[in-house]
């Protein structure tokens, strides 16, 4: 377990960051990270050289699963009309809504598109993303470009409703 502890401490923050990029929720992101590391502990008995990339990808996919699984609950919450907030709290409300919108868009995008966005903006390099998605590194720019264009389109559609 001592060897795994070094691996855990070396990669935990990056994994939480990726999950938080999907979920917008630090505590839930840590819950996802815990599950991912438990799975990694079982999957890589003894050697963890290959596990660094694996835990990152698992975090992204697991967080996307959680996000999509919560869709129904979120819709229910959206039906609750917000109370009239004091104007002074406006910034906080705008920030919260923007985060909520990112998550709504991540749910709608195809899984690989959502994953590439989260990976890149969660700090993974092109080489790491290529490895994670099983594509050539030269193809990552194309996937990322398409994903960012799709994000822009979805976001524009959403805000113009």
């Amino acid at each position: 377990l001592a060897e795994f502890e070094a691996f855990f401490r070396g990669h935990y923050r990056a994994v939480v960051r990726l999950a938080q990029n999907v979920l917008g929720d630090f505590q839930l992101a840590q819950d996802v990270a815990q599950d991912v590391f438990v799975a990694a502990y079982r999957r890589f008995p003894g050697g963890y050289e290959q596990a660094g990339g694996w835990v990152r990808v698992a975090a992204v996919h697991t967080a996307l699963n959680v996000l999509r699984g919560e869709r129904r609950r979120d819709r229910r919450q959206l039906r609750v009309a917000p109370p009239s907030s004091p104007p002074s709290a406006e910034d906080a409300v705008i920030e919260r809504e923007a985060r909520a919108e990112v998550r709504r868009v991540l749910r709608r995008l195809p899984r690989r598109t959502a994953a590439v966005l989260v990976m890149r903006h969660g700090g993974m390099s092109y080489a790491e993303i290529a490895d994670a998605l099983g594509v050539k590194v030269g193809h990552v720019g194309t996937l990322l470009r398409r994903a960012e264009a799709a994000l822009r389109k979805e976001f524009d559609d959403e805000t113009h409703l």
């Binding site: 505590q27 819950d31 438990v38 079982r42 990808v57 609750v80 109370p83 910034d91 920030e95 092109y126």
Partner: protein, 374 residues
């Protein structure tokens, strides 16, 4: 040469050294590729902004300890080995949505305990700001406080002023609340306070006019408070939630005018955490919010915190004004009473420490002190 593909233009924006020289040479000479590149870079920047949420730093020691517990629990439940997906393609394990760890958002009563815990250190001099445990404002009327008091079995004075004793218990409608800690104590030595807290205590170097020297440090040792739900709590029966808060250190400054009233207080403590024996945040929240006596407006505010599981709510007394601010890059809340004579700032820094600065001062003065600490 053909025009550069969008994928390569995208990578040029991120990793310019990774693309061949002929690409950069082409773009330098091609107005069309430059225009496409600018559009692509705009979309990339926009995406980066959308994902640029405040990143909190996990407490690695606590999370490693929690990992050990998770592992034992999953081994006890007989989960098979090697049940994961191939690296990077598919979802490995669907994570359990039953979170073993919940935030204060878990419910009103837990929130109330949070107020009490932090209040134990801070409330003596800062009763208007009940609990510097969150950075999202939640309006709290006197009626709301009474409703929480009735739910938890603590008097509303106790909610504001801390638990009545360092160790004890009370019976609520839905279960029991027990707490244990050591009594708060005072010291005049920063070194002693730092040793007790085991964290750095940031203090302002430039004080507003009217604020004198540090009078004393109040140290509240760590508090554990556990809610154990009973059979009236339905599916929560038998489960428990433990809130761990503190230690907290409160630096109290005298007034330069020589009155006994403290003019400024600076509190520092690690972010409180709550551990659940099994019930999820959603279950606990849903149960508590449907308790009779919970004011509908308050319930709605708590529900609307929605995704803010990681953001601790700051109770805002009725009549106070509230503003979102940033301290050292971290989001915070600035509260002021209607006359602007009393103000407080609460924020959580990137390392997970909570800070409260409050005083009988103009809000701008309080904010200036806070910014020295952030």
């Amino acid at each position: 040469m053909k025009h550069i593909s969008e994928g390569v233009l995208r990578r040029l924006d991120d990793e310019p050294l990774a693309v061949p020289d002929r690409v950069t040479e082409h773009v330098a000479a091609c107005a069309r590729c430059q225009a496409r590149g600018a559009e692509i870079a705009d979309d990339a920047k926009r995406a980066a902004r959308l994902f640029a949420a405040p990143q909190l730093v996990p407490d690695l020691d606590a999370e490693w300890a929690r990992f050990g517990q998770q592992l034992r629990r999953s081994e006890a439940s007989g989960a098979g080995a090697g049940a994961g997906p191939g690296p990077g393609r598919v979802i490995v394990d669907r994570p359990r949505l039953r979170s073993p760890r919940v935030s204060l958002r878990a419910g009103l009563a837990i929130g109330a305990i949070g107020f009490v815990v932090v209040g134990a250190a801070a409330a003596a001099s800062l009763t208007t700001i009940f609990a510097p445990t969150q950075v999202a404002p939640v309006s709290l009327s006197r009626g709301d406080l009474q409703a929480i008091a009735s739910l938890t079995g603590l008097s509303d004075n106790q909610l504001l002023g801390g638990f009545p004793t360092p160790t004890g218990s009370t019976t609520a409608r839905f279960g029991t609340i027990t707490w244990h800690s050591s009594p708060a104590y005072q010291t005049t030595s920063l070194a002693q306070a730092t040793a007790a807290g085991r964290f750095r205590i940031p203090l302002p170097t430039k004080l507003p006019t009217g604020v004198g020297a540090v009078q004393q440090f109040i140290v509240q040792p760590r508090v554990h408070a556990t809610v154990t739900f009973n059979s009236t709590a339905g599916s929560l029966d038998g489960s428990s939630v433990t809130l761990v808060a503190g230690p907290a250190v409160l630096a109290v400054y005298t007034s330069a005018g020589g009155t006994d009233l403290p003019a400024l207080a600076v509190a520092t403590m690690p972010r409180p955490t709550a551990l659940s024996s099994g019930a999820s945040t959603g279950q606990i929240e849903a149960f508590l919010l449907r308790q009779p006596g919970v004011p509908p407006q308050l319930a709605e505010e708590v529900r609307l915190l929605g995704d803010l599981k990681t953001t601790l709510p700051v109770p805002v007394p009725s009549g106070a004004s509230v503003r979102s601010i940033r301290v050292g890059g971290s989001p915070g809340v600035l509260l002021a009473d209607s006359s602007n004579a009393l103000a407080g700032v609460v924020w959580e820094d990137a390392s997970g420490m909570l800070h409260l600065v409050a005083g009988l001062l103009d809000p701008q003065d309080v904010l200036n002190v806070a910014k020295q600490l952030g």
